[in-house]
């Protein structure tokens, strides 16, 4: 494979350019519309269609389709939000966390769908928006619970710490609630999707090159990269679920930390 990448233009090595396709509309303006935006719109339409259909057809006795949808919704409600916050606090935040979870899941899954082949979350925009939403939610929860200065004090000066330590601890904690939490949400999701896409492209491109263009001696290696492509695709589906889960889980954790009496 390394040898392959050294050869001529036949092998397409994935690069960061993958994530910046050419504009379809409004090139050069802040409203530039490219393939990723198209993918996001398609994913959003499909997601809405599925859930609106499920809601319209919802019956007391669920069929297969409704069962699957209910499993997703129950998973978010019980295994994420209620597990972390308790069912009383959870009621307020279940809609928000559910929205975050299914949005990220849908946008992640576009990465393994043919003709889309790029996760809607593989550039940071969506993740930034969702992280901002989480940021506002946990600040609002904290301020409502403790008041503005109360919230700051609870976070920056946790009890049970020797006074001199606060010199280091307070700025770190402030940085934590201001930047580190939302930024880590964004980076974790985006980096995972970028890495996943690059590995997928590598497998696909290598298979293609080895099978069709490389010297006959190299062709059997294509089987290896193809099996790799299957494995990575499955892994990407898993990562899509995992990242949606982690984002929703951390959002719940951050909101719950704001609501705790003693930090």
């Amino acid at each position: 494979m390394l040898a392959a990448s050294d050869e001529d233009g036949g092998f397409h090595a994935p690069s960061i350019a993958e994530f910046f396709p050419e504009a379809i509309l409004f090139a050069g303006t802040p409203f530039e519309f490219n393939r990723i935006h198209l993918i996001r719109i398609i994913a959003a339409v499909v997601l809405l269609t599925i859930f609106v259909l499920a809601a319209r057809r919802a019956k007391l006795v669920p069929g297969r389709f409704q069962n699957v949808i209910e499993m997703i919704l129950d998973f978010v409600r019980k295994n994420i939000v209620e597990d972390i916050m308790g069912s009383e606090r959870a009621r307020r935040y279940v809609p928000m966390i559910t929205t975050i979870f299914v949005t990220i899941l849908a946008f992640n899954l576009t990465g393994v769908i043919p003709f889309l082949n790029l996760a809607g979350t593989s550039v940071a925009g969506v993740a930034i928006l969702l992280a901002l939403w989480v940021f506002v939610a946990y600040w609002a929860a904290g301020i409502r619970q403790h008041g503005f200065f109360g919230y700051l004090r609870a976070n920056m000066f946790p009890p049970g710490v020797p006074a001199p330590i606060y010199v280091i601890l307070a700025p770190i904690e402030l940085l934590q609630i201001l930047i580190i939490r939302p930024a880590s949400l964004v980076l974790r999701l985006t980096a995972n999707m970028v890495a996943g896409h690059i590995i997928l492209v590598l497998c696909f491109a290598a298979t293609h090159y080895l099978l069709l263009e490389a010297t006959p001696a190299l062709k059997p290696i294509a089987a290896l990269t193809f099996v790799g492509a299957i494995a990575v695709t499955l892994f990407e589906v898993f990562v899509a679920l995992l990242q949606a889960y982690i984002f929703a889980l951390l959002a719940s954790v951050y909101i719950n930390m704001s609501l705790e009496e003693e930090h």
Binding site: I24, R35, L60, V61, P62, I113, L116, T207, H208, I230
Partner: protein, 193 residues
Amino acid sequence: MPAADHQVILAAEGGENDPLQLFIPPFYDWFWSAVVLVIIAVVFYRMVLPKFQAVLDERTAKIEGGLAQAAKAQEEAAAALAEYHQQLAEARAEASKTREEARAEGTAIVAELKTKASEDASRIIETAHRQIEAERQSAAVSLRAEVGTLATELASKIVGESLEDSARQSRVVDRFLEELEADQSATTSVKEG
């Protein structure tokens, strides 16, 4: 076929102004991902989904069964309640019937007693009347006998006085009449009493 594919790729990679490139990913990307997805889909359709669907169907059946059972239980409860209400109504009807009968019987008993009492009363009155009549008759008989005696007495008295003077005569007659009158009133009072 591979040759044709190859040309498509070259076209896609070479032409910056190919409008299709804006909308779909490079050929190797979508083609191989489609192949991979088809393989995964086949495995899922053959092995994973049937099991999963069986679980889902089982769950649906279980929920349906549970609902049916609940409905049945409710139906039974409703039936039992209806039966209970019916029994209660029957018992009430029976009780009121018994009460009604008792009342009617009581009325009958009272009426019977009243009739009997009035019969008794009229019989007593009858007896009293008959007794009074008998007494009256006996009084009349005894009076009649007494009047004879008195008349005889008076005659003897008139004869005994020898009729000395008209004054004495009239005195005797007056006394007799007085006696007679007194006797008469005594008899009357006895009869009325």
